[in-house]
């Protein structure tokens, strides 16, 4: 399939160039986000009746992992409300760039932090406390507020949107999986960028801000670090930026060579498997350990969690690479072949989320009428009984997702291994074994 330039449509182009449609969505999202914080802090402590738990961890999560990431890549980042207050403060404006620059520190993020290790750590921190986070409204409220304030704090210290690019726990995995999505933002003609003076897409102009994600669109070849904020479409004086519809996983044809991204793939893969066992499995002892933060059982859980993600999964993967007897450094092969785990990980999350979301979706209907659990009945749906949805298609749906992910992963492994001239068989076998484990955990 060839690329289709969506921005050829005047309607789409004008909608993306204008700040107003995006601002309208931003405002709605920000109101919802602040309400989720308030609901978490002042609403009922019963998670299944509190807006913060039901709308963040069931509704938003379902939209994110089942629709937004697979089909729109960084589409969520394009409308995410978390960086908004910080950006407004940093810029001294809500819409177009003001005449005078606001006086903030505007420092460059130190080189040692210009990678996704901080995002890996922030995701893992949330992952280790996830049983409490997913079920306790005030913890969810505190975490949502902390992310908002962290984004504000970083915006006053560092240039651009440092929180989104280097710290956001959600942005890290969205970036990784956005490589599989059929939407991309790219330049039309490289030569135009070479000859362009001042590079307003990166440095900003009176029409818009320099790339908040610290990306020069002229060199953009992957979705990973492009937040689809559309600033470059507004600032490009040559109309040289396009949003394209493309084949799925086009970015994965060029394997990554970065270890931080490789480990992100393992973190996501391992987390999906651990959650499938702990949260959806029948083993009460695991749930107790994951929930009772601070106890010796929880510390054991943390050790096992980290051992799986940083030891067992990459360890066996590396053993497979060593079997290929490649002349390239192991580190290089490891990073390249880990690209194959990106579609597998995404589909593991889809399969896990299907179970979690379909079982608990009926809480959304009740929480709409009584978002704080105060006994309101705004739309007459408060007393909607809990009822799992579509249980008959759950197992076939999960199988389709996992088998699809396995095929996708195997084909990606073939492409990645042919780039570096080694066998793809160990990576395919590895993906196959992990898929069998996931079947056993979910079905």
């Amino acid at each position: 399939m060839a690329k289709i330039e969506l921005t050829r449509s005047p309607f789409i182009k004008n909608a993306l160039k204008s700040r107003y449609p995006q601002l309208a969505v931003f405002i709605i999202m920000l109101v919802g986000y602040i309400f989720a914080i308030l609901a978490g802090l002042i609403g009922t402590p019963v998670g299944s009746h509190n807006f913060s738990i039901v709308f963040v961890w069931i509704a938003w999560w379902a939209v994110l992992i089942l629709v937004a990431v697979p089909f729109f890549g960084r589409g969520w980042c394009a409308v995410c409300p978390i960086p908004l207050p910080g950006e407004w403060l940093q810029r001294g404006a809500i819409l177009s760039p003001p005449g005078k620059r606001p006086k903030w520190l505007n420092l460059r993020v130190p080189k040692m932090f210009r990678n996704i290790w901080m995002q890996n750590i922030s995701f893992l921190l949330l992952a280790l406390f996830s049983s409490v986070l997913l079920t306790t409204p005030n913890i969810t409220g505190i975490v949502l507020a902390a992310m908002l304030f962290a984004a504000i704090g970083l915006s006053t210290i560092f240039e651009r949107c440092a929180f989104c690019r280097y710290l956001c726990p959600v942005g890290g995995f969205i970036g990784l999986y956005s490589q599989t999505a059929p939407i991309e933002l790219r330049i039309k003609d490289k030569q135009v960028c070479v000859q362009c003076e001042g590079k307003p897409c990166y440095n900003g102009s009176e029409l818009g801000y320099g790339c908040p994600w610290d990306v020069f669109p002229g060199g953009l070849s992957k979705n990973t670090y492009c937040g689809l904020c559309m600033e470059c479409i507004r600032t490009c004086p040559h109309d040289n930026i396009a949003v394209n519809l493309r084949p799925f996983s086009a970015d994965l044809a060029k394997p990554s060579t970065r270890i931080d991204e490789a480990f992100k793939a393992f973190i996501m893969l391992g987390s999906a498997m651990i959650y499938a066992g702990v949260l959806l499995g029948p083993w009460g002892a695991f749930k107790d350990a994951a929930y009772n933060v601070g106890t010796s059982a929880w510390f054991m859980y943390v050790i096992i969690f980290l051992a799986i993600i940083f030891g067992i999964l990459p360890g066996f993967f590396t053993l497979g690479i060593l079997k290929t007897k490649s002349r390239l450094p192991v580190k290089h092969c490891f990073a390249s072949l880990a690209t194959a785990l990106i579609p597998l990980g995404l589909m593991f999350w889809v399969a896990f989320s299907l179970s979690f979301v379909l079982t608990n979706a009926s809480y959304i209907v009740a929480a709409l009428s009584d978002p704080l659990g105060f006994g309101w009945n705004l739309f007459g749906t408060t007393n909607t009984a809990w009822q799992p949805m579509l249980t008959s298609i759950l197992a076939p749906g999960q199988t389709l997702a996992l088998v699809g992910g396995l095929i996708w992963s195997a084909r990606t492994a073939q492409k990645a291994s042919s780039e570096i001239n080694i066998s793809s068989i160990p990576t395919i076998v590895y993906s196959f074994i992990l898929t069998l484990v996931m079947f056993w955990l979910l079905l």
Binding site: P396, L402, L406, I428
Partner: protein, 147 residues
């Protein structure tokens, strides 16, 4: 072999794996009774194994707060007050693996209070493994044909 033909054959094999009826060894239905202790946030025993056609009675004993037990796929449930026993009887006439879960809000981890009922063989698990094996086989074959 022609790549399209091999893909077609693998596709047909996939359909057979997914939908072909499996031979079932007839086992005389029995009456099975299980006592399940429910506590925050686990069932004990958390996994039940019965044969297709068995008449199953679950005696749910709650040891702390009010708990329920809802069986996915069967769409039946029972609730037990603290210290009380409640009974649920049904005929296990659907084969496969079914989650049972608490359907009475019982605390923070309530949505994850889950057990498993296995009726006969978990056909779907084996079919899935078969499909995954075929998928890998097909991918490797197409890779060889392209090389």
């Amino acid at each position: 072999m022609n790549p399209r033909l091999s893909l077609l054959l693998i596709g047909l094999a996939g359909l057979a794996v997914a939908f072909a009826p499996l031979p079932v060894q007839p086992i005389a239905p029995q009456e099975r009774t299980f006592e399940i202790d429910a506590r925050q946030y686990a069932y004990s025993p958390s996994e039940l194994q019965v044969n297709h056609g068995d008449t199953v009675t679950i005696q749910l004993v709650s040891t702390d707060v009010v708990h329920g037990l809802y069986i996915d796929g069967y769409d039946i449930s029972v609730e037990a007050d603290p210290g009380q026993t409640a009974s649920l009887t049904f005929i296990a006439n659907k084969s496969g693996s079914f989650r049972f879960r608490c359907n009475v809000t019982c605390g923070a981890m309530h949505p994850f209070m889950i057990g498993k009922l296995n009726v006969g063989i978990d056909n779907w698990l084996y079919r899935s493994i078969g499909l995954a094996t075929l998928a890998i086989f097909g991918t490797v074959i197409s890779m060889r044909q392209k090389a």
